[in-house]
């Protein structure tokens, strides 16, 4: 029995100390958009694990055992930051016991740190709901942010994995060119959306609105993360005609009912947007995400929800 135990622990140690035979860089992506970006930039040089799926609320993720073990084996963690993952990422970082991916190490990348955040709260108080002190973290809805993050991430991947630096740089150039071409096409197509006002369920769309020149006129949530009560919805409905909004917008992971209820009562189309890669059938990758988002917004402008 004793000998068996010694053998067991010895083999554990051997496994632990054996050099990693796999050459690919292990990427732990907190959200699907960063998984898609890492895949686009890393190609066959990376092995990407995405911690959350397209239909999951990134604010409320369970610190699942699989996430701990994946983070333990990661060479780099790519997350949004700006406290979006504060409810679960600290537990994973602590339990993963992986020095490579701790904040401050080259192996910990925060996308929100690369761009200027909007909607920085003026009043830091939990009475204001689920506010993020650093600003709105949902930066992926603007492809211009994505280009900046892509450039920074390609550099970071190259510094963590210098052997494949050329590959990251080349793929970044291609990704950037492809995205720029897609943006040119989408911005022309989205011209009718300029100046259009919309109502959204959660404050998730400031960057998208900024890109397309749209205006977020109101939210269905009275405060971020707080579900609306009937009194608040009644009040909102009374204000909607004056807002001159053209559509109701909500994310694929959100409950459709409140948005559809408001849409029905106010005779506006309720537009489901993918929000991230995997949020809709069309959003298979990042360019697909922007394609599908603009397509759905234009359909909404034409009076068609969905």
């Amino acid at each position: 029995m004793k000998r068996l135990a010694i053998f067991f622990f010895a083999s554990c140690l051997v496994v632990a100390m054996a050099p990693d035979a796999k050459a690919a860089l292990n990427v732990f992506a907190c959200e699907p958009e960063w998984g898609a970006l890492a895949t686009a930039l890393g190609g066959s040089d990376v092995d990407v694990f995405v911690a959350t799926a397209g239909l999951q609320d990134p604010h409320q993720i369970q610190a699942r055992p699989a996430l701990i073990s994946r983070l333990r084996n990661a060479d780099i963690a790519v997350c949004t930051g700006a406290e979006l993952e504060i409810g679960w990422m600290p537990v994973l970082l602590r339990q993963s016991s992986n020095a490579k991916v701790q904040p401050g190490s080259p192996g910990y990348f925060e996308a929100a740190g690369q761009v200027t955040l909007l909607e920085k709260p003026e009043r830091l108080d939990r009475a204001e709901g689920d506010v993020h002190p650093a600003g709105n973290p949902h930066i992926q809805t603007d492809p211009r942010n994505m280009r900046i993050v892509a450039a920074a991430l390609a550099k970071r991947l190259a510094s963590v994995d210098p052997a494949h630096a050329d590959g990251y740089a080349q793929r970044e150039q291609k990704f950037d060119a492809d995205l720029a071409a897609a943006m040119a096409r989408l911005e022309t197509a989205a011209a009718p959306l300029k100046g259009v006002k919309f109502i959204s369920y959660h404050k998730s769309w400031i960057y998208l609105a900024n890109w397309l020149g749209m205006t977020e006129a109101a939210n269905i949530e009275p405060k971020p993360g707080v579900p609306p009560g009937s009194a608040y919805i009644a009040d909102l409905l009374s204000r909607i005609p004056a807002l001159q909004a053209k559509m109701i917008v909500y994310a694929a992971y959100e409950d459709a009912k409140p948005s559809e209820f408001v849409a029905q009562k106010s005779n506006l189309p309720a537009v489901l947007l993918p929000f991230t890669v995997g949020g809709s059938d069309g959003a298979k990758d990042l360019i697909g995400l922007y394609d599908d988002t603009v397509k759905r917004l234009l359909a909404g402008l034409g009076g068609k929800g969905g």
């Binding site: 632990a16 609320d57 369970q62 200027t116 920074a152």
Partner: protein, 496 residues
């Protein structure tokens, strides 16, 4: 460019050297003064032109460096790229007005003034209050067959603020993290719930902890009580661990390099808390090991598709006690005590499911733990058969004591949950020699049925109503518990 700069400099040095040689040679001539003057003029001219050349060169170099920087910096070209890519004047205008600025762009200084508070630890406060009504007195609680600790009872009757907890934590330095959790009890006493230091940079994926902490055994044990899904601990936790096992000691964990979560851990403890009891002091100078508790555990877990995940574990806790007192019950005026050892085994399993793995809307959580314990040693009581009122000690071998709980929690809409729980413990009969004592199991199986519903105002506030039908002691006890839990300050992350 840098190489040619060096070349230029060495050429300049060379010329200066040859000029100096020349000057030496000419110095021998008769018209020394004139030549000297001429030489000085030449040298000045040379120096001036050299300086000009260097300056020109440096300006050009700087300009070129700037251009290289500009070409490299994707951030600064982002807007330029956008401009070229976007042909439509109207769209380009929009973009320019709303272009995201890279974080590296220079901005007005916004540096906070330096302050002694800059490195304050993260501070979190938890208030966990209860109001309780029950048909039996919680202070005379008992589970026949078990020598219970002082916390193995329902919450006190009436409103009480329960446990108010202050948590401070921060990185100590590049190598250490520390955490302090102080609990203020209902009766105004203060206790250190956790006070531990954790090295953050151990090699080979080891983690360690030393100080006071909740043991890693089981599933619920390591979590703070206010994060539990019911207002009270399951019966096996009350019977075998006095609610929760935390102690002073050291822990070592190792995480296997597999995609499936697989963790091994072990602890050595002082043995100052139930089921151990201050062994190092009580056993005297011959037992200077200072260890009264030790544990080993393995936890595993993984995802099952995108919607579900599980975790499971096996744990062992060994403890020694010396004259460990028993919670006084009717007929046992508090003089019962146990000296000996406990071997406790725990198997735990948790399963969580949410549609598409999205826990914001609805989810189901199933959870259960099974306990097996052997207690062996000597038991002293005042009411052994035929020896009433006389403190008598008998050797005692518990046999396999068992217990388990199983519970299910369902969030049916955001912020609203309901749950059911069943828990029981069982001690085998010890025969007529123990009739009437605490250890008399009375051929009963203490059990309890619970239902609860809770509403959260946000992630940080929760109200819970729970009903227990507690059949631990003879005559069932109806308990109603109203609980509120709020947390302020630093955002605590939640364990699985």
């Amino acid at each position: 460019m840098k190489y040619s700069s060096r070349l230029l400099r060495s050429t300049a040095l060379g010329s200066a050297f040859s000029v100096a040689l020349l000057w030496n040679g000419v110095a021998k001539a008769d018209d020394l003064g004139d030549v000297r003057k001429e030489m000085q003029a030449m040298q000045q001219q040379y120096n001036a032109s050299l300086a000009k050349l260097q300056k020109d060169y440096e300006t050009r170099l700087q300009a070129m460096e700037k251009r290289v920087d500009a070409a490299e910096s994707k951030a600064s070209t982002a807007t330029a790229k956008a401009d070229t890519a976007q042909k439509t004047a109207e769209v380009a205008q929009t973009t320019a007005a709303a272009a995201p600025v890279p974080a590296s762009a220079p901005a007005a200084a916004d540096n906070p003034p330096s302050s002694a508070n800059s490195f304050n630890p993260a501070i979190g406060v938890v208030l966990d209050g209860k109001a309780m009504a029950s048909s039996h007195n919680p202070n005379t609680y008992r589970m026949p067959g078990f020598a219970l600790g002082d916390q193995a009872k329902p919450p006190p009757r009436g409103p009480s603020i329960g446990e108010s907890e202050i948590n401070l934590q921060a990185n100590v330095d590049q190598a250490l993290f520390a955490n302090l959790t102080v609990a203020f009890e209902n009766d105004n006493s203060v206790s250190i719930e956790e006070a531990f230091v954790q090295p953050t940079a151990l090699p080979y994926n080891f983690t360690a902890k030393f100080g006071r902490f909740f043991s890693g055994i089981g599933y619920l044990n390591e979590q703070h009580a206010h994060t539990w899904d019911f207002a009270d601990a399951p019966l096996p936790y009350l019977a075998f661990l006095n609610g929760q096992y935390g102690d002073d000691g050291a822990q070592l964990r190792w995480l296997a390099p597999t995609n499936q979560f697989l963790e091994f851990g072990g602890e050595v403890m002082r043995g100052a808390s139930f089921p151990a009891n201050s062994v190092s002091e009580a056993l005297g100078s011959n037992h200077n090991a200072g260890v009264g508790g030790w544990s080993a555990f393995v936890h595993t877990g993984d995802d099952i598709g995108v919607s579900a995940s599980y975790s499971a574990g096996l744990s062992y806790l060994g403890t020694r006690s010396s004259a460990r007192g028993t919670n006084p019950v009717i007929g046992n005026p508090g003089s019962d005590s146990f000296t000996g050892g406990d071997n406790t085994f725990i198997a735990d399993a948790v399963y969580k499911w949410a549609p598409n793995g999205n826990f914001a809307q609805t989810y189901v959580k199933l959870q259960g733990e099974a306990f097996l314990r052997y207690e062996q040693g000597a038991f002293q009581a005042l009411n052994y058969p035929g020896a009433a009122g006389v403190a008598t000690t008998k050797s005692y071998n518990s046999g396999p004591q068992t217990g388990f709980y199983a519970q299910a929690v369902y969030q049916f809409i955001p912020f609203w949950r309901v749950g059911v729980r069943y828990d029981q413990v069982h001690a085998p009969s010890l025969g007529s020699g123990f009739t009437g004592t605490t250890l008399d199991s009375m051929n009963a199986t203490p059990r309890r049925y619970s239902i609860m519903g809770d509403y959260s105002t946000s992630e940080f506030g929760r109200f819970r109503l729970q009903y227990n039908r507690d059949e631990a002691r003879p005559g069932s006890d109806n308990q109603v518990i109203l609980q509120y839990t709020v947390s302020l300050g630093a955002h605590g992350a939640h364990q699985y």
